[in-house]
Symmetry: C2
Subunit: 178 residues, 2 copies
């Protein structure tokens, strides 16, 4: 867990190890979704929403498939979870994302009252693959990253091969860029 | 038109007057949608998307009605326009919003390649009515407003009674806060 880990974590070491193992399992699921999304013609991003240890929603990026510029994996998963639970607020949820969320997805999570967001690949990996995430945050607010990630519950956790979705993306010759 | 007007405007005075009249007409439509949204049980926000002088999509805030925390008026209108046009990118569109867009909506417009965003009420009006727009931008990026509005094509235009949707909101005793 890198230095973006939440400063609110007061677990014991053992609990933290368990939490990290659980987090890694859900992150791997988000990464698998992102790879599957590419194979299905979507963008190389995946997201999973977990409440009390249960996956309540998961999605890949649907921008080109649904012709919806807002259909990022995180937004799709948030919409799905809110609908499933019958509440636009998800104060007990953790959002797992294969890649650092863009400003739209971060703000969506914040509107949904999601207190914890865990991601695998840093934004720079998406930028290198041709996505404009960091550029958009910079253009909007003069910052490429959130200024107080701890307060947002924003946390990067290292797992194996977080760039796998982008590798799949570049290997897909008929990919639809957006 | 206040100092958020785009610095790319090279029209003559007459053309600018005409543009402003057109802009004001679409802004009034967005405000009417926002008031109607309140009466229909939605939030006090409205948005209209215009391409070549034609309205291609319009929406009110649907957060509580659709149980979707991302269903801000601007996001709903962007989704609707992209679907109608069969393209996630809207490079010829202007987005008219009854109120200054939040970070989620601004980023959504940016992902949709919308080059011009015109709004009526400033964010502070929403904040005073109990909405967290400025707070979210500040929490995410340490800025309550975009740092270079001109480059985003973000422009406030004065019309009569931009706070009408919020007045309707406060008068609605059975409003569902979110």
């Amino acid at each position: 867990m890198n230095n973006l880990s939440p400063d609110t974590d007061t677990d014991t070491d053992t609990d933290t190890d368990t939490d990290t193992d659980t987090d890694k399992a859900f992150l791997r699921q988000a990464i698998r979704l992102a790879v599957t999304s590419v194979h299905n013609g979507g963008g190389p991003f995946g997201a999973v929403i977990v409440i009390n240890g249960e996956v309540v929603a998961s999605a890949g990026n649907q921008v080109t498939l649904n012709c919806d510029p807002t259909a990022h994996a995180e937004v799709e998963a948030i919409r799905m979870a809110a609908r499933a639970l019958g509440d636009p607020h998800l104060p007990d949820a953790t959002l797992y994302a294969s890649c650092e969320p863009c400003p739209m997805c971060l703000a969506a999570a914040h509107w949904a009252h999601i207190p914890r967001i865990v991601f695998a690949a840093p934004q720079e990996t998406a930028n290198q693959a041709g996505f404009a995430d960091g550029n958009i945050a910079e253009q909007l607010y003069g910052q490429t990253h959130p200024v107080r990630p701890q307060r947002l519950g924003l946390c990067q956790i290292d797992v194996e091969d977080p760039a796998a979705p982008f590798t799949a993306w570049h290997l897909k010759h008929d990919r639809q860029a957006y």
